[in-house]
Each structure stands twice: as structure tokens, then as C-alpha cells.
Symmetry: C2
Subunit: 448 residues, 2 copies
């Protein structure tokens, strides 16, 4: 007999079937045993004799043959799709055993370190699973929308030859006795491919050697990256970004209502997203708080929260674009504002107080770019491969990058971005806590 | 006026439009200039006066306004969709200039090193582009088929805590003064997630520090990885693999006929894929060639070619499954054949003489796995995180991994796998040739 899925039992009332799954819970009741059996489609109640259930505990993996019956007392609620029926077990085969659980998996209430130390187990909790169903949907939705707009998908390399974007937060690789690095962004490759396919996107992996532990940073994260040529204005890029973000939200509403219900917060109301310059934002923040950051070259996390509050109060929007960041705070390839070259044609998108997207127009002229590479204290020879794209004609273009884990964190109101990463990496953890797994080296290596 | 795409001009005959793209070629003809203008949808002929075309050369990026007209002499062939019309240019704006080309981009005939040194430019050749359209389609097709079969997509981490699969071909990362490595396979994470979602897949990036240069190996490549729980037999995994491979071929036939036409070879005829044991394959090879590799623990590249020839002659199949590889040649997690534990329930899929898939059933019992970890000279403490999945119940399961670049290489009859990688990495190259970009270190570091 072929195994059917729990959800498929709904169409098999009165029939003999075989199902398989994990024991979600066991209840003994005067000689009769009830199991909740969990598979990827949901939970079904199984009834059997004590003898048949002998020795079976939570998280055992079972294959059960039996008859699908209507329940004497129907449980009709949205959490249990098969609440109207149960399986009367006739044969139970143990496919795999389980040790006793270290915590209650149904009512998970553990600290973040424990949640992550036991990731293979805690992922079996339905609410935790929902986070990653939502993550999968955000990626699919991004991909679907990009393809509809004529963007070609590509796979960006992760081993890169130089620390192209500058900054110390780069991981070094021993590469056949030469130096190589982990990619901090697919930026250069996106631009190269605008020269080929005009519009491209990639679900990229990016790496940042973040030297501190915060609730917003990961050492390895997923970046939904897009780049488009033949723009008429840098605002075309912001428009494209606004559309894809809104489409992600509406796809989630359509396809993930069950998963979203586990979380109190819900999706944002979709309105036109306000756009203001960074300097204006600083002025507004000053007016509201009397905290004077008006001369700062960037927004601090508390500024991002405050301006988000303003956008919600003033425009009813939980998202806000901040534009025209100072040139010196942006990477070398950012297009300067022709009206004031101290500022750039760039933007960040904040969502509920956190930056989730960064983007802008890029310089598409070789001379300008080479000038900036030098100004940013790097050497044009390190960019020889990349510079070809400008040598041989690149149209005006721009793009953006969405931080996947941050989007999911903000949608669900999670308190730490690590909760939105299946297997988060940071300076203290790769799967296991590093302090438990391996000693720190006695002499720190010199950074190159 | 909003830019329209070249292909859209077909519906605009007699109308004024704006188009944009790269000069694919320029022909001067007695005071009249003809451009082939290339955008992502195809090529259109542009006609204008010499004056309007002054200074414009190949690969210049132009924005052109003009009227769409029927051509006096219609060019009707499949390569030029817009051959029935041309654009009479009235206004030309140069969006970006180009240097003189180092080779003829239309009739590309360069060595592999030159092809790759100039990747940003050579990708603009239509035949080269076709390789990556086909690659994109193979990935989409894999993804679509996996989703239809109820597999959940996940993103596997690339920074891993230990050299889990053994072997020296691993890249070391300096990770906050600790040791970490680049993932050689998403294997452990796939298995962890079978414990959560039952069936999972991922478009993974894997890294191998291949110590030699061959036509089949890359240091960074894309692996289409799937893993499924609740299998009844290890052959379920092979069946799933056979189905997805066939679906990929039929999707290519449907969606990429234009791209496939650039290559002489074409898709394989789809028949039931023969399955034979490695020892039987060796016997057949011996009978055919008198080359006696019957005691070898693996097939050599020339063996793979020979047994593929046999499959084609005997079964009319360009694909063949080789099964039951020796236990000592497979990773520690491979399920031993209960009938003969010197062999495993594993398989490779060969396509036109090259291994493109590897797969099999996995050990799903903790005790057996721990025994093997030790036998493979590793320490169970390095697998503490992973072993949880077996402690808490994992059903019988298996999976497979498709080497994307190899599939594309074999479909198109490319002579080197590097041609099927957008930005190939190997011991001699990361974008640029390393010998040109940076000197080798004087003292090779000791491998850990």
C-alpha cells in the first residue's frame, strides 16, 4: 500500500489507508491510545489499543495502516484540517525512534541560544516552521515578479578576487595559496550582466564579517538583488523596488494566511510609500525629539525608528524611503546627484524602523568610476575585469538589494534577525556555539 | 516617450516609437547608414542618414526615436524576428560609448582563456548568451518540478563549521580567529530538513578546492540538490531523479528551441534509463575493451565514456544509472546494501559519458552513523548539531545532487565545463587569470 498524506485522508473516509509521520503527542485514555500524527500537510488523530502503541513516544516516526473514520466528536477549527476524522490504526510500524525531548515542542518557550542550539529539533514546531514557509514565499514572490518584468535570473559567484566594496567586514579565504574573499554583494556581477541581459536579478548569498553581535546583523545572509538598465531616472529604480515589495506583501496575504496567523503583528497596510531626503528626515527627527543628528552622515538605528514613526503618523505608511545619502557614506559606484555631488541618487527603504532595502543609480561611465575607485583608496587594476563593462557601453542603470531575513523579521515582529535565518552564522555561532565547539586561536591572525 | 522593446516594434508598424540597445553592427551604404540594434528581445534594423550616425560605432548604447516601417526587402528567418521591418531613425541619443572591440563579437572565434578574460564582453554574443538562458531554464525547470512534487525550497548555508565530508578539497576561511570552511555540499542540512519538511530541495553553491585543472571540474559550482523522506526503497530516489531529469529535457525542448539551435548536438531521446551495478558495468567494459578495471573501486572517466557508449548501442539511451558503488568510495552517510555491506545503495547518473548526478539512500540511524563517522576518521563531536536529527526520529530517506554546469555542458556538447559557468573559478582563475592578477605566495600555507 502506498503512503498517503494526512491531508489526503479527508477524501478517504471509510477506506483503508497508510499514512506516515511523527508522533506530535500521545495521550493514554483507559486502555485506548490517541496519537496526533504530524506530517508535512498537517496533523491527524490516530486511535489504537495500548498494545499496538507499546513503547511509542513523542517524535517517533511511524507508518500506520488503518481505516479513516469520522470522529465521534468533530474538532472543527482552522489549526487542524483533519479534525473531522481520525484513523483507526490496525498496523503500526516504527520507522525511527526518538529520545525524550529536552523541552515541550508543542508549546515552545526557550531562549534564543537554545532555539538555535537545537535548530534541527525546534524547526519541527509549527510556528517556527511558519517563519520559513513565509521566507520561501518571499523569495518565490520576488522571483515571480522579477521574471514578469523581464528580469533574467542569474547565479552570482561567491568567491571573489578582491575586497571590492571596501571596508574591513570581509572574510578571507585561503585560495590555492593565493588570496580570495567571500562576496559582500553581487553588485559588480549584476552590473556586468546589465551589459548583457539589461535586467537581471539574483537570490544571492552575501557575507559580512560583522565585528559585533546585534539583533540586525548576520555573517551570512540572503540578498534579493536586482539591477536594471535603460532607466530614465534613478526614481525608476525606486518605483521598481516599491512595486516588488508591495507584490511580496500581497502574495503573502494570498498564500500564507495560515502561517501569518501564528504571529500577532500582520502585514502592513499598502499605501504609497513616502520618499524624503536624509537631511529632511534628520530635520524632522530633530523637531520631534530635539536630538540633533542633523550633521551626521547617516541615520542611527534610533533615527530609523523615529522617522518610521513619523511616516506612520503622518502618511499612514509603515514603510518609508530615505533618499540622497551622502556620497562618502555610499560605495564608490553610487551615482552622485548632479545638483549636489556631496549627495547621491540613492535610497534606503525602512520598514517598521529597520532598513530592509538599499539601492540607487550607479555610475555608468568608466572615467568617473576610475576616479572614484581611487578616491575610495582602491586600485583600478583590481577592477580590470569589471571595468570592461563600462569600456564597451553600459546604459544608465541602477538596482537594489532586499535583505531577506530582515524583511521576514519585520513582517513577523521577531525580536532578532537570527530567528529568520534557518542556520544563522555570526561571530559566536556556526550551527553550534563556537565557544563550545572550538577554542579561539591563541594569536589572532593579522587581517590583510 | 517611453522606450519599447525591439520585439514590440512588430505591433507598431507606421507608428513613432523609442527604442534602445547596443549597436550590433554598422553598415555604411552610399550616404545611408544601417545599424543592427540589439536589445534583450532581439535585433532590429535601423536606417538613418550619415549625419545622424556620426561617430557611432559597434557596442555604443543608443536611444533612438523614429518610425517603424515595413522593409522594402523583407528578411524572414528565425534568427531575426523583426526582419520584416526597420526603424527609420529621426533622433539618436548616445547613452554610452564603446571602445573598439578586440575581436569580432558577431562571429566569435576565440580561445577559452580569451573567452573568459573578456567574459563581460563575450557574453554579449548571442550563442554564448544562449548557454545561460538554457542554464536558467534548467534551474527553473528543476525548481518547478520539485515544487509540484511537494518539495520545500530552502537556502543552505555556505559557511560550515567543519570539513564534514572529509577529503582535502576544502577551502578554509578565517572566521573571527576561528576555523571555518566553504560548504562542499548541502547534504547535512538537507537531511536536517527532511526531519522538518519531509521533502526539500535547494539550488546550492558548492565549493571544491580541486587541485588540478580538468575540463570537468570547477572550484565553485551550482548543485541542484534534493532530499526526500518516507521512501520505501532507495530506488524511489532514483525514480525521482529520472523524472526530474526527463522533465528538464522536455521543458528545454518546449521553452528553449531557439537557444538550442545554436548548438549542433540537441537534446537526448527520452527513453527508460538503464540501471546497472558498477561491477556489472566494469565487466561489460572489460568485455568490450579488454581493459581490465574490474577490481577498481570506481569508474575512470574513460570507463564512464565506454559504458555510456554501451548504453546508447544496447538501450538507445544517452543516459545510464550506475549503482552500488563500493562503500569505501562513498561518504560516511551512504546506506550500505543490506545484502552486501561492501557496497552501497547509491547511484551515479552518466550522460553522454560524464557523471551529472550522484545520489542514494542515507543512513537514518544514529548508531550506524556514529560508527561510520569514526570509521571515516572523523569525530562525532564535530557532528553534534547534525546528529540531533537522528536522535529525534528521521524516516528512511535519500536524495541526489545534479551538477548544473555539467548538465548544460553535456546538453550543448561544450568541450569544457567552464563554458557553462558565467564566472568560472578554478585554481588558475577568479574572473581574471590569477597569474596576471596577483603573485603566488612564497610559502604555501599548511593545510589544516
Amino acid at each position: 500500500m502506498q503512503r498517503i498524506l494526512n491531508i489526503e485522508t479527508l477524501k478517504q473516509v471509510g477506506k483503508k489507508v497508510k499514512i506516515g509521520g511523527w508522533v506530535n503527542s500521545r495521550r493514554d485514555h483507559g486502555g485506548i491510545v490517541f496519537f496526533d500524527l504530524r506530517d508535512r500537510t498537517g496533523i491527524i488523530q490516530v486511535v489504537c489499543s495500548e498494545k499496538l502503541a507499546e513503547g511509542i513516544k513523542d517524535e517517533y516516526v511511524l507508518e500506520i495502516e488503518g481505516e479513516v473514520q469520522e470522529r465521534p466528536i468533530k474538532m472543527v477549527n482552522s489549526d487542524l484540517e483533519t479534525g473531522v476524522l481520525e484513523l483507526k490504526a490496525e498496523k503500526i510500524k516504527v520507522l525511527a525512534e526518538s529520545e525524550s525531548l529536552p523541552f515541550d515542542l508543542r508549546d515552545l518557550n526557550v531562549s534564543l541560544p537554545t532555539l538555535l542550539d537545537y535548530r534541527p529539533l525546534t524547526l519541527r514546531n509549527k510556528k517556527i516552521q511558519a517563519i520559513f514557509k513565509i521566507q520561501e514565499q518571499v523569495i518565490s514572490s520576488f522571483r515571480k515578479n522579477m521574471k514578469e518584468l523581464g528580469f533574467a535570473e542569474f547565479e552570482s559567484p561567491m568567491i571573489v578576487p578582491s575586497n571590492a566594496e571596501g571596508g574591513a567586514e570581509v572574510f578571507h579565504i585561503d585560495y590555492y595559496n593565493r588570496d580570495a574573499y567571500l562576496s559582500q554583494s553581487p553588485q559588480l556581477y549584476k552590473q556586468i550582466l546589465v551589459g548583457v541581459f539589461e535586467r537581471v536579478f539574483t537570490v544571492a548569498r552575501v557575507f559580512r564579517a560583522e565585528p559585533s553581535v546585534t539583533t540586525r546583523h548576520l555573517s551570512e545572509y540572503i540578498s534579493l538583488d536586482a539591477e536594471m538598465g535603460f532607466i530614465e531616472s534613478w526614481e525608476d529604480v525606486m518605483d521598481a523596488c516599491e512595486n516588488v515589495i508591495k507584490d511580496i506583501f500581497s502574495d503573502l496575504e494570498k498564500n500564507c494566511s495560515k502561517e501569518l496567523k501564528f504571529f500577532d503583528i500582520g502585514l502592513p497596510k499598502i499605501v504609497k510609500i513616502p520618499r524624503i531626503k536624509m537631511r529632511e528626515a534628520q530635520e524632522i527627527i530633530f523637531q520631534r525629539t530635539k536630538r540633533d543628528n542633523r550633521k551626521e552622515p547617516d541615520l542611527e538605528p534610533e533615527d530609523e525608528k523615529e522617522i518610521s514613526n513619523w511616516a506612520k503618523e503622518k502618511h499612514g505608511s509603515e514603510l518609508i524611503f530615505i533618499t540622497h545619502y551622502p556620497t562618502k557614506k555610499r560605495p564608490f559606484y553610487t551615482y552622485p546627484d548632479p545638483k549636489d555631488s556631496d549627495y547621491t541618487l540613492s535610497f534606503d527603504l525602512l520598514f517598521r524602523g529597520l532598513e530592509i532595502v538599499t539601492g540607487g543609480q550607479r555610475i555608468n561611465e568608466e572615467k568617473e568610476l576610475v576616479k572614484n575607485i581611487k578616491k575610495w583608496k582602491n586600485e583600478p587594476k583590481n577592477f580590470k575585469f569589471y571595468l570592461q563593462v563600462f569600456k564597451y557601453g553600459l546604459p544608465p542603470e541602477g538596482g537594489f538589494a532586499i535583505g531577506l531575513e530582515r524583511v521576514v523579521k519585520q513582517i513577523l515582529g521577531l525580536s532578532n534577525v537570527r530567528e529568520a535565518s534557518l542556520f544563522p552564522r555570526d561571530m559566536e555561532r556556526i550551527d553550534q556555539r563556537l565557544s563550545l565547539a572550538q577554542p579561539k586561536k591563541a594569536k589572532p591572525k593579522k587581517k590583510k
